[in-house]
């Protein structure tokens, strides 16, 4: 799946149409090639795209979407939100207390270096193969990038703003809500973006390894029973899921960080 990356900006229709064309020509060509080549040279492992799409329609609109895709999405969102909340909360705390941060940083750096997938067996032993394991694994995996970015973002809050907050006697709650967190939000968002792709990987892997349901489990069991077209249809669903999640994330980001984008483009134009 090709996900062309470019920031959205309000444009006139003609330019917009052109921009859309620039973005979609490659996916169209690739899908076309796949269609033609898989039809002409069919093999067990790469069945014709037509067949895959037929199964896609049959399976995923909407029976398996409910039984396999939905549970995966629920686990993913739950785990992601847990990791996000914990990462931002702890990151803010550490970012605001440099001493504590210095004391914990080396440990954090080490623990963070352990890939999320590597601790999967531990989670399976501790929590079994149910949703609790999947949600916890995703929460832990998404926690680190958000934590480290939140620490960094909070630490780099403009010192003048600290003086402003202090001199106007702005209480801690308002400082956090209206100064520290907004100031750190561009950094927090870049951590959250990394975490989102980590979360997608972890949900698939956790279902493939310890699964009794979910989209990852579906793909894995299709592969094991040599239901290759079904397997491919599942992979397409995964690709679409990742793409849609990423798009939603970008929409949210461009809303929340509109001020940041506006400020940086303004600053660049003014050459300051």
């Amino acid at each position: 799946m090709v996900a062309p990356f470019r920031p959205h900006s309000p444009m006139r229709l003609s330019r917009r149409t052109r921009a859309v064309l620039v973005e979609v020509w490659l996916p169209i060509v690739l899908v076309g090639l796949w269609w033609v080549l898989s039809a002409r040279y069919p093999s067990i492992y790469s069945p014709p795209l037509q067949e895959i799409l037929r199964l896609f329609r049959e399976l995923w609109l909407f029976e398996h979407a409910r039984t396999d895709l939905l549970p995966s999405l629920v686990n993913l969102v739950l785990g992601y939100l847990l990791g996000l909340i914990a990462g931002v909360a702890l990151g803010t705390w550490l970012g605001l207390s440099p001493r504590l941060n210095r004391a914990l940083w080396p440990t954090l750096e080490f623990v963070r270096a352990i890939p999320g997938v590597a601790i999967l067996p531990v989670f399976v032993i501790l929590l079994g193969v149910g949703p609790a394991m999947k949600v916890s694994l995703i929460a832990v995996g998404t926690f680190w990038p958000i934590l480290l970015n939140a620490i960094d973002g909070v630490r780099s809050v403009e010192p003048t703003l600290r003086d402003v907050a202090a001199s106007f006697r702005i209480p801690l709650k308002h400082r956090l809500l209206h100064i520290v967190l907004p100031a750190a939000s561009p950094q927090i968002f870049s951590g959250a973006r990394i975490s989102l792709s980590v979360a997608v990987i972890l949900i698939v892997v956790s279902e493939m390894v310890g699964g009794n349901g979910g989209i990852g489990y579906f793909v894995r069991s299709a592969e094991r029973s040599f239901a290759i077209p079904e397997m491919w249809s599942g992979i397409i669903v995964l690709g679409l899921m990742g793409y849609v999640l990423n798009t939603l994330f970008r929409l949210l980001e461009s809303r929340v960080l509109a001020w940041h984008r506006g400020m940086t483009t303004r600053t660049q134009r003014d050459g300051r």
Binding site: E158, T160, L161, D163, V164, A166, S167, F168, R169, I170, P171, H174, H178, I179, P182, A183, S185, W259, H260, G262, M263, R266, T267
Partner: protein, 274 residues
């Protein structure tokens, strides 16, 4: 406020004193290689006074201001604001920083920037917004309320910072080189704005600058910091009246004499040292 005196008689009641600074000493670093910045600074600011602090760069002007604001604890000496010793940023004191682009929140609209310090109080959102609007009208920015600071020019951003200080309804405003980053015309406009605001609201203004003309033009008293470490070399009374004008006031003989006097005071201790 009906008694915004330009000059106060020596017998004025103590309640009229907004700032009382005695024996202020500040050092940076540890005892062994400490760098002295301020050395026994003392002065007094009364209600409604416009006092400018001038001195060469490195004369500890900003350090002094941070101490007055309660953002920094001086090594020794006593600062009293409104009758209470300053140990933390006191109530009723508002700050305007030099760097407006860093002191405003780019994620908040102009009005939200101005009303942020009011959220802690007991005002409703509507009352806060009204108080903010009054302040923004005072600085001539009533039309920019829903814009973001980065959409405004530098001078307008500094007006927002001034409005934020005024909306706080302070007894005194501290300004650290507030007009150093704007162009000359804007600077003159902002100077006149501060004069009219002071007159209108009866607040005290303490302004740090390295520009002697600006200091003389704005002040009731110019407090000259000089030497290293800095002392108050002189407090010069400025009797230019309450109606001032960028062109006519600056063309008067009194103005020229005062600026010469300030300049000489800054130069003299330095000359003695060499």
């Amino acid at each position: 406020m009906n008694h915004a005196h330009a000059i106060h008689p020596a017998s004025a009641p103590a309640a009229d004193v907004v700032f009382q600074v005695e024996g202020l000493v500040h050092r940076y670093g540890s005892a062994a290689d400490a760098r002295r910045i301020l050395d026994g600074v003392q002065f007094e600011v009364r209600r409604g006074d416009f006092v400018c602090f001038v001195g060469p760069s490195g004369a500890g002007k900003s350090t002094l201001l941070r101490c007055l604001a309660g953002l920094q604890t001086p090594t020794a000496g006593q600062i009293t604001f409104n009758g209470t010793p300053v140990t933390e940023p006191p109530q009723g004191l508002a700050l305007v920083f030099q760097d407006y682009s860093r002191s405003l929140m780019p994620w908040l609209t102009v009005l939200d920037n101005v009303t942020l310090p009011l959220r802690a109080g007991s005002l409703t959102r509507r009352q806060r917004d009204e108080q903010g609007m009054v302040a923004l009208e005072e600085v001539g920015l009533a039309k920019a309320v829903s814009q973001y600071p980065w959409q405004l020019s530098g001078g307008m951003q500094q007006r927002v910072a001034i409005a934020r200080a005024l909306a706080y309804r302070p007894v005194a405003v501290l300004m650290d080189e507030p007009f150093a980053s704007v162009d000359a015309q804007t600077r003159a406009d902002l100077e006149d704005l501060m004069l009219s605001v002071r007159k209108h609201l009866g607040i005290s203004v303490l302004l740090v600058t390295h520009d002697i003309d600006e200091a003389v033009y704005l002040s009731d008293k110019v407090c000259v910091l000089s030497g290293s470490p800095a002392k108050v070399a002189a407090v010069i009374d400025v009797n230019l009246g309450s109606e001032r004008d960028q062109i006519t006031t600056k063309a008067t003989r009194e103005f020229a004499e005062l600026r010469t006097k300030v300049y000489q005071t800054i130069r003299r201790p330095a000359a003695v040292k060499q």
